[in-house]
């Protein structure tokens, strides 16, 4: 479709995007408010950001969240990529239906149920709750998202490249690391980022599976939000938004450049 934006289309776009972005924008603006009252504008100030530096509890929580996120996203990416390979490359193995179900169910499973069931497992096997259990829980629910992202890439690529490598005598491992992985790399990286942000974001599953001494940032934010809206929380949220937005935009730009190169490489490899 081309250049046929009617007035209706423009209104729909403006309304849709305002709806998506205005609340976030207001939240960011009010984090720079000098007044403690969140709804009264009293001039520009960075006082709430400076206050954050002195809030040891919040910084601790941020550190826990970051570690859980990095570790769980790494493991989830490995397991999720394996699951994607299994589902898209190995046809009908025994138990495939069960695996497909187990990969896709967590995507739509309400978080309270995932959280509750994992907690009951940890209690049943008598595992001390804390950092480790949150990480295990996050690996479990984020790996399925990685699988979906990587699988869609695996389904869309030219398999003859893999077959050629195998026919020329490459072992499966060499084929994977020299041919498959470089080709699906952007999807694997996107999967890692998705897993990382989901972990960063999770309140419900972490609340169920945590124990004493392991409070994550969303749990901290949640407990303060319940007491009311405060400019400090706005400031924390603004920082998180800035980090994630920068990451996503940089990743998109890198991916775009990679995509152009990948298509060229694939065409050259196919001898065209």
């Amino acid at each position: 479709m081309n250049w046929r934006l009617s007035r209706f289309n423009v209104v729909a776009l403006v309304f849709g995007f305002s709806f998506l972005y205005l609340p976030i924008l207001l939240l960011v603006i009010y984090s720079f408010n000098a007044s403690r009252l969140v709804t009264v504008w009293a001039g520009f100030s960075t006082v709430w950001y400076r206050e954050l530096w002195n809030n040891a509890g919040l910084l601790d929580a941020a550190w826990v969240t970051l570690r859980v996120g990095v570790i769980s996203a790494a493991v989830a990416t490995i397991l999720g990529t394996m699951a994607a390979l299994a589902l898209s490359r190995y046809g009908r193995f025994r138990g495939r239906t069960l695996m497909t179900g187990m990969v896709f169910a967590p995507l739509v499973m309400p978080e309270v149920i995932t959280g509750l069931s994992l907690l009951l497992l940890f209690v049943a096997i008598d595992l001390d709750r804390g950092f480790l259990t949150i990480t295990l829980a996050h690996i479990t629910f984020t790996m399925c998202f990685v699988t979906v992202v990587v699988q869609s890439r695996l389904l869309s690529f030219d398999r003859s490249l893999e077959e050629a490598a195998m026919d020329l005598g490459a072992t499966p491992f060499v084929t994977f690391f020299r041919v498959t992985l470089p080709l699906i790399w952007p999807a694997v990286a996107a999967g890692w980022m998705l897993a990382f942000t989901l972990s960063l974001d999770d309140l419900v599953i972490a609340s169920f599976t945590t124990g004493p001494g392991a409070t994550t940032l969303p749990m901290k934010i949640y407990s303060q939000v319940r007491l009311g809206v405060t400019p400090e929380i706005n400031a924390v949220c603004t920082i998180l938004i800035a980090i994630v937005a920068t990451g996503v935009i940089v990743a998109t730009l890198i991916n775009k450049r990679r995509d152009v190169r990948r298509i060229r490489d694939e065409q050259m490899a196919a001898g065209r």
């Binding site: 046929r4 289309n9 419900v204 938004i241």
Partner: protein
């Protein structure tokens, strides 16, 4: 170019049997190495926990740690423990209006929110699909970007807007539309807004994808034959975008039913959605068996739409 690929694949398919069989053995070997770790992980951390929830939903609550009975600790007492399992928790849920109301309320709140989301997402996706090709990737990224920012933060942002002394009421009073602040927060409306806002990308993206795939020459042909634009939309565009609409509705409805954060932060204490009921039962009442039974019933309710959705996706994909 396409023919070229076709012939090469055909050659590989009918190729030297020896090469093929050795490739197959190697694939098989790699297959096990790749399948087993995620498989075992999901069995241990997804399926097994589920069975444990089911088992605890058949247990009795006791004041102990863990707070339920029986436990299957000693294998020699398994038979006795097995006989202690009861369906009392389910009878309790069925007899108490609180739980039934929670389920009903969750389903209809999720349903209405899905409709509102569709009404906002469709025009948005339609506008995106008609935008100049150069602009579309940027618009697409703008729809996806909020999805990456924290869910909790996005819900929190609405508290400041919807409060009685919040920004929306200030604005409406300032422009003279209302005299008294509207009470939006802690009502169903706040939940509808919260769900619509949080799940908008899930609805917009599949609809956009199906509109983007559409062959625009169909609309041109209809116009050339004298079909008015609105009729062309109704008879051509809408039916062709239906797979996207259906996918979007499932992606919003299913998770919205079990939503916890939105009803908790925006809905106040009077709205009970089932996700919140599980949470309260577990954290406030500390009744793990009943919380488990509520969760099992919720899964049973959601299994049907999930299975329909997967079938539908598989058919649309193949």
């Amino acid at each position: 170019m396409a023919e070229d690929v076709g012939t090469r694949n055909a050659a590989a398919g009918s190729g030297d049997p020896e090469v093929l069989s050795s490739r197959r053995t190697r694939m098989k070997f790699r297959g096990r190495a790749v399948i087993i770790p995620p498989y075992v992980w999901l069995l241990a951390f997804f399926l097994l926990p589920f069975l444990i929830v089911f088992k605890i939903s058949l247990s009795e609550v006791v004041v102990a740690m863990p707070p339920y009975r029986p436990t299957f600790g000693d294998p020699s007492e398994w038979w006795g423990a097995l006989r202690q399992l009861t369906i009392d928790n389910y009878l309790w849920i069925a007899s108490d209006e609180l739980y039934i109301n929670s389920y009903v309320e969750s389903l209809w709140i999720a349903g209405i929110s899905t409709v509102i989301t569709l009404l906002i997402a469709y025009p948005l996706a339609y506008g995106m699909a008609r935008a100049p090709a150069g602009l579309r990737p940027t618009l697409l990224m703008l729809v996806i970007l909020p999805f990456w920012t924290s869910f909790l933060i996005r819900v929190y942002a609405w508290i400041g807007i919807l409060k009685p002394e919040g920004l929306l009421n200030q604005l409406l009073i300032a422009i003279g539309l209302i005299d008294e602040p509207l009470l939006i927060i802690n009502t169903h409306w706040a939940i509808f807004i919260g769900i619509t806002y949080s799940y908008l990308p899930f609805m917009t993206l599949p609809i956009y994808a199906s509109l983007d795939r559409m062959d625009h020459s169909l609309i041109e042909a209809a116009a050339d034959l004298g079909c008015p634009p609105l009729k062309a939309f109704w008879t051509i565009t809408l039916p062709l975008s239906l797979p996207g609409v259906v996918a979007g509705c499932f992606l919003v409805f299913i998770p919205a039913v079990g939503e916890f954060v939105i009803p908790d932060l925006l809905g106040g204490s009077r709205t009970l959605m089932i996700g919140k009921t599980v949470w309260l039962e577990f954290f406030t009442n500390r009744d793990w068996p009943v919380a488990s039974a509520v969760a099992v019933v919720l899964v049973a309710i959601l299994v049907l739409p999930i299975v329909i959705f997967q079938r539908y996706q598989a058919r649309a994909g193949g």
